[in-house]
Every structure is written in structure tokens, then in C-alpha cells.
């Protein structure tokens, strides 16, 4: 039997970026909020020994314990889905700050094209351009409508970027609050080469602070030290924007946040029309606790937002056969395997130095910034050179044909340890009717709840996009004049084993139509007006940028909607 607590105005499920931002905005407005986090608490003092590649990057110190909960995966419906038993393709955050604590801090607003992808594609190329089965749809919000919320996130996090407006990306209402990151020789080579080809390179906007910064909430943070331990690590300086050093302390200072760690939500309670609260397990004592609430905000990672709705039977589950229903629809990932690797026999670079969001990029081949009339794919990718810190266990590039062990491997891997530069593409992943999330019929988590099942594969759209972008990356690399270079552009089936990207999206997508989307433009559920589902789960497709900028903007938008809802009730649109 569960213990029932007194009712509270708002309960938030998951205290990462989305949960932290919403907690901060609500508590500042005087709303009492309970924040539930299934993992442990965190602070920068936990990172005393953070410069440990083995512990953090290879043993996943900051990640969810898969023995308790994972996902199952299959490429298509003919296959039996099997559990992701150990980490590979993507990493699931855990603990206070969630994925916002272990991210790199690379920041890119999605393009105006992204939010109106279907309309704009039809407008330029006609409806026939969209292949059968591809379920791209508009997001129910435009870039211009979302712009003020991007701006808000940037000021909170202190995003560092170029003052000048890049012509290839959405218009900004204000300059970035801090100047761009420093420029390394590798970044300069890339930008020079891109300029020679008449592209428009820019320094990647960064959530690793370029200089000390005090944000509008009074939070002051130190500058990035370029120590090279960022992604998968926590930042001991607090220089990397992370909910734990930005929004959560602000919420706590108000006295209105009741933050409960080790609280794993297992169910959203509802009467079919509205939520009435949540049930969670105290993972220390094992006690089951019911927390009634007027309003439920779901801000766990993409995959868990979807799973919790499905197991709680809230919202209409997606049916891939008919394309009807919404929970689990439009799961997307990112197309990242297009690469150009340059080996420079007579040069050495300090690539062991770096920062998570240190790099340069072009958006000339992202979104619809280039003509797709004669191309067999839609959207595109950013092409970038990043210098995130070449750590020695994971970074051993060798030219093709080199064995993966033994004398030659040792020799070549030592030779090229500091003499390799890589250009990578980060490409959009567009949704299909047969890519989706549902509950696994066999496998369960530590609490006996079904695991989430992912059905996903690469399509020709992805292969064509990848090939085209890899070729463009190759052309830029050629301008950088390496001794030898390799372009990888082949893509077979999606494989869950090698690490690719923790940019999973979709499943509770936003839109203007309740029959094709789960939440409205305030991230309010169409089927339960007092439930807001916030995060990359709302992305109707995945774009060619890191998702956090757009997650941050949507979180501020949702917070505004929640405050409005508390006053007036009803549907916000």
C-alpha cells in the first residue's frame, strides 16, 4: 500500500534542463513545486576526480544504471526486440541535472525551416517531394514565436557566440550574452578552408562560458578552462551550463521547491481527463508514495516521458499500422556517420586540449539552406570541426588498412595521436510511419514495469543525406591539405552498439492538431489539460543541431504556459 501525501500545486517528474527551468520559473512566480528526481543529488564538488577517462567516459559514471532499467530495440517489426544490455549508441543520464550535467554544451537553435518543415517543403518543391511513409509535420509553432524563449535560455546559460548574425541560421533578437570561445589552429584551418569554398563558417555557440558571467538570476559562473573533460563528465568549475549550477539553485533559493532525489516515478495518476498526481518509489527505502497534485509536468528524458505515458495509459498510443494515435509517434535520431578524416604527417596539434563546445561549423548544408530539387533527400546537416579533447583510450585514429592491434597499430596510433583532424556531419533524422516507440511485451524494469521498445532503422533518405554531406566535408578537408584523407559515407542498418549520439527525439510530439500531435505549442497535453510533457520528446523530427537549445526554449515556453494555466485553466490554444 502506498503512503499518500497531501496534495501540492505542481509536481515535476525529472530534474534535468526541462524540469530545472520550469521549477525555476514557477518558484520565482511564487508557485510551490515538488521536484522528483529518481537519481542522486549532485554538486560540482562531486567532480574532484572528474579528469578520469575510464570512470566517466568508458564506465559511464554519470549514466543510468541499466541493470534497473533499459530499452529494447529492433530494426523493424519482423525482428524480436532485445534489451540494450550495455551502453552503446546513446547514453541515458541520471541524477540531478540529468543529461544536462553530462552534455558537451554545444548549442544550436533549430532553423526556421525545422518548425514548418512540411509547409516549407511543399511550398518550394511540391508535395511529391515528400516520400511515402515519411511523416514530417509542422510543429505548431514558428521560429519567430519561439525566438524570445531561445533568447531567455541563452541569457540564463550565458551562451558564448559570435556577435555577428550568421546568414545561414535564424535571426536573433539579441547578441549572445558572452563572446565566442577561443579559436584553435584546427578551427582556423577549417574556417579558412570553408571560406575558400564560399561557405559561411562560424564558431559554434557554446554553453561552456568564454568568460566569467553573471546571469539575470544573479548566478555567477567561472570561465571555461579548456581542460578537455566535458562530455560524459561533470564540470568542476561550474563553467559548463548545467541545471545544477544554474536554474536549480535559483529555484531552491525561493524556498518554494521541495526537491526529492531518489524518487522514481512509476505512474501518472489520472481519471481519463485530468491527472490527479503521481506514484513514486523512494529508491532508498523501497517505499511507494502517492503524491497528489493539481498539475503534473513530465520532464524526464525523451524515452522515459514516452514510457511513463504508455504505462500510465495516458494519451492515445501510436498505432504504426494505421498511423493513428500519438504517444510513441515520430521517434527520430540523428545522422552522424558522414565524416572526413585528415592525417597530417608533418603537423602536430594540441588536440588533447579542448572544451565540450569548442569548434566551428557551417550551416550551408543544413535544413533547406541549399537546393534539394535534384537531391534524393530532404534537410541536411551541419559540417563541423570540434575540439572536445582527444582522450587517449577512445581516440586512436589510424589510416585504413592498419590492423587494430599489434606493432603496426601501436606505431600508427602513436604517430597520428596528435596529427589527425576530423570533420563530422550532424544530420537531421526525419520521421517515418514505421519508426516508433511502444511497450516491450517481454522485458521489464526493476519494478516490474515493461521496458520501452524502439523500432528504428536507417532509410535511403538518411543514406543519401549522409553520403552528400560526407562528400562536402571531404571537399573542405581537401582544402585543409592533409597528407592523406578518408571520407566515410556508407551507412548500413542502424546498430545500437557503437556510440553515435544522445540526441533521441519524438514520441510525444507537439503540433497544432490533436489528431496528429500529443501536445500543443505550450507542451500541454491535448488529452489532459493539466499535464505538460516537456523535452526533446516534443520534437516532431530531429534537426541538424544539438537539441538542447530547442529543448531549453520549449521549456521556457512551457513554463509560461503553466503559469497561464494556473491562473486561467483550460486549453492554452
Amino acid at each position: 500500500m502506498s503512503k499518500k501525501l497531501p496534495k501540492v500545486p505542481v509536481v515535476i517528474v525529472g530534474m534535468g534542463w526541462a524540469g530545472g527551468i520550469i521549477a525555476s520559473e514557477l518558484t520565482k512566480a511564487g508557485v510551490k513545486v515538488v521536484g522528483l528526481e529518481r537519481g542522486k543529488g549532485r554538486s560540482t564538488s562531486d567532480y574532484y576526480m572528474a579528469h578520469d577517462e575510464l570512470r566517466y567516459a568508458l564506465r559511464y559514471e554519470m549514466m543510468q544504471d541499466l541493470s534497473k532499467e533499459t530499452v529494447t530495440f529492433r530494426n523493424n517489426e519482423k525482428m524480436r526486440a532485445l534489451p540494450m544490455r550495455t551502453y552503446g549508441s546513446f547514453l541515458l543520464g541520471d541524477g540531478l541535472g540529468g543529461a544536462g550535467s553530462h552534455w558537451n554544451g554545444q548549442y544550436g537553435r533549430f532553423l526556421p525551416y525545422d518548425f514548418e518543415i512540411r509547409s516549407k517543403t511543399i511550398e518550394r518543391y511540391g508535395e511529391k517531394k515528400i516520400p511515402k511513409g515519411m511523416t514530417i509535420q509542422d510543429w505548431g509553432i514558428t521560429y519567430d514565436e519561439l525566438e524570445p524563449y531561445f533568447d531567455k535560455y541563452e541569457k540564463m546559460a550565458g551562451i558564448s557566440g559570435e556577435a555577428e548574425q550568421n546568414p545561414m541560421v535564424g535571426k536573433r533578437s539579441n547578441p549572445f550574452p558572452t563572446p565566442p570561445m577561443k579559436v584553435t589552429p584546427g578551427m582556423k584551418m577549417f574556417m579558412d578552408a570553408a571560406k575558400k569554398l564560399n561557405y559561411h563558417p562560424y564558431i559554434i555557440p557554446s554553453a561552456n562560458l568564454s568568460e566569467m558571467y553573471k546571469n539575470p538570476d544573479g548566478i555567477e559562473r567561472a570561465a571555461c578552462q579548456y581542460c578537455a573533460f566535458c562530455e560524459r563528465f561533470g564540470c568542476e568549475y561550474g563553467a559548463k551550463a548545467d541545471p545544477v549550477v544554474t536554474v536549480i539553485p535559483v529555484a531552491e533559493k525561493t524556498g518554494n521547491l521541495d526537491l526529492r532525489t531518489h524518487s522514481n516515478v512509476t505512474k501518472i495518476l489520472h481519471d481519463g481527463k485530468k491527472a490527479t498526481g503521481v506514484v513514486y518509489v523512494n529508491t532508498i527505502t523501497g517505499e511507494e508514495i502517492e503524491q497528489p497534485a493539481d498539475l503534473v509536468v513530465m520532464t524526464s528524458y525523451v524515452l522515459n516521458n514516452v514510457r511513463l505515458l504508455l504505462t500510465s495509459k495516458l494519451g492515445k498510443p501510436y498505432d504504426p499500422a494505421s498511423g493513428k494515435g500519438v504517444i510513441g509517434k515520430n521517434y527520430a535520431y540523428q545522422v552522424n556517420s558522414g565524416k572526413a578524416v585528415g592525417f597530417f604527417d608533418d603537423k602536430e596539434f594540441n588536440t588533447f586540449m579542448g572544451a565540450g563546445a569548442l569548434g566551428a561549423e557551417i550551416s550551408d548544408f543544413n535544413g533547406d539552406n541549399f537546393d534539394h530539387s535534384n537531391l534524393n533527400f530532404l534537410h541536411g546537416a551541419g559540417i563541423r570541426f570540434t575540439q572536445t579533447g582527444a582522450r587517449p583510450i577512445a581516440t586512436n585514429p589510424v589510416p585504413k588498412g592498419t590492423p587494430s592491434w599489434g606493432k603496426d597499430f601501436k606505431q600508427q596510433s602513436l604517430k597520428y595521436a596528435n596529427s589527425t583532424l576530423t570533420l563530422a556531419s550532424q544530420g537531421a533524422s526525419l520521421p517515418w510511419q514505421h519508426h516508433y516507440l511502444d511497450l516491450d511485451p517481454t522485458y521489464k524494469d526493476a519494478y516490474g514495469t515493461p521496458l520501452l521498445r524502439i523500432t528504428f532503422d536507417w532509410e535511403d533518405q538518411d543514406r543519401e543525406l549522409n553520403k552528400y554531406l560526407a562528400e562536402r566535408a571531404g571537399e573542405i578537408m581537401k582544402e585543409m591539405n592533409p597528407t592523406k584523407m578518408e571520407v566515410s559515407k556508407e551507412m548500413k542498418s542502424y546498430n545500437i552498439t557503437p556510440y553515435q549520439s544522445t540526441h533521441n527525439t519524438g514520441g510525444v510530439i507537439m503540433g497544432a492538431d490533436p489528431s496528429t500531435s500529443a501536445v500543443n505549442s505550450y507542451l500541454q497535453m491535448w488529452d489532459a489539460e493539466n499535464v505538460f510533457v516537456v523535452g526533446a520528446s516534443a520534437f516532431a523530427h530531429n534537426g541538424g543541431y544539438n537539441p538542447t537549445a530547442t529543448v531549453g526554449a520549449l521549456s521556457y515556453r512551457a513554463a509560461e504556459g503553466i503559469l497561464k494555466y494556473i491562473k486561467q485553466g483550460g486549453s492554452l490554444v
Binding site: 564538488s45 544504471d65 579559436v183
Partner: protein
Amino acid sequence: MADTNSKQPKSSSRREFLKNSGIALGGLVVGGVLGGSLFGSKKAEVEKVVEKSVNYNQALMFFNQEQFQLTEAACERIFPQDEHGPGAKELGVAFYIDHQLASPWGINAKDYMTGPFYPGEPTQGMQTSLKRAEIFTLGLQGLADYSKKKYNKRFTDLTEAEQDETLKVFEAGKEYQLAGTSTTGFFSLLRSMTIEGVYADPMYGGNKDMQGWKMRNYPGNQMSFAKDIEKDEFMKIEPKSLHDHMGH
């Protein structure tokens, strides 16, 4: 080649460094380094007398003697001693592997190990119910058995070329089968753990005296590259390990 030690913040100047980087300024500063835990107290900065001592880390938590010797010989072939520097054996990689197999990672403590188990497609990743420590043990037994069968010798007594040939057979996974697991699964563990043991922080038992890092001019655990990140010239920096944080 440029120098460099002088350009790194030393322990004695760390307070100064914090000041310069802005961390120690007033206001609502959230960096936990302020508490001082990262850099210890001042008296700690006194140089310690380095005593020549036994490395008590070099004993076995998991392997028996034969398994240890087999591992030492096999990982030396993965990362051999050569003109560039020491191989896996000298770097203590076999101790590293021993310690890792005895750790939570060796028993897949954070992996999903609930059944049912099916072989699955290659795109679905590892699907065995065996733990890493078990796979490694079976693989070592396989190396011993195969050497005996093929050469009528112990693996450790084979020539380097014979050892390489044996490992290639295990890597390919065609010619020789193990009961309950694959030689490829074992080989991939051996290969990845060897690289880890060469380059992980020395506290884990390998990368002896940071010689793995030195071979590739990797500086290990440094507090800041802010002053050098824009420089064109390659920096050779004396490496530091995590032990450096404890010396105060």
C-alpha cells in the same frame, strides 16, 4: 618544441590560478572548487620526500598465476614493446585487467542481465548471460587449449609470431570455437582492456609511471589549457595523474 611546464598552473600557484580564472570572486558562485576540496590546504603544498616503496597495487584480485601470465603474454602482443616505448606487460596492463575483472564492471553490475536471452542480430549488441569476468576466463582457457592442440606448447612458450597467429584466429572467430561464448567476444574484451590499461589513469594499475601517456605526449590530468589553447606550436607537457590531487 616548446616548453611548457612553466606555463601550467603548478600546485603552488593554484590559488593564484583560481583568482585569475575568476572562480574565487564573490557573489553567488556555484563552483564547488571554492570549498577547497579540489586543491587541499596550504601546508599540503610542501614537497614530500619520495620514498622508494613497494607497489602494493601489484597483486592479484581475480586471476590465478597461470591466467595472469597468459594475460600478460597476450596483451603484450596487442600493444608490444618497441622503439617507441614499453609494451603492455611493462605498463602493468595485466594487473589492470585483473583489477577490472574483479570490479563491478567485471560482473556487469550496471548492465541489464535479466533474461530471456536470445542470440539476436548483430545490430542489437551483446546478448550473452555470461559476465565479462566469465568470458575472459573462458577465453584464456581457450588460448591455453588452442596452443596445446595446435603447437603442443603453452601459449606463453609460443614464439611471438605463433602468439600473433593464435590471436588472429581468436579475433576472426572461424577456425576455433569456445563452449558458451565466442573467441571474438573474448578477443574484443582483451583488445579494449589492453588499450584501457595502457592509457587509463595509473591508479587503475596500468599505464605505469604514466609511460603510456608519455609515448604519445598526452599530458593526463591538467587543470587548465586556457592560456595555451590558441597556440600554433605543439606543447609537450609533463603529464600529471589524478594522484596529483591527493598530494596536499
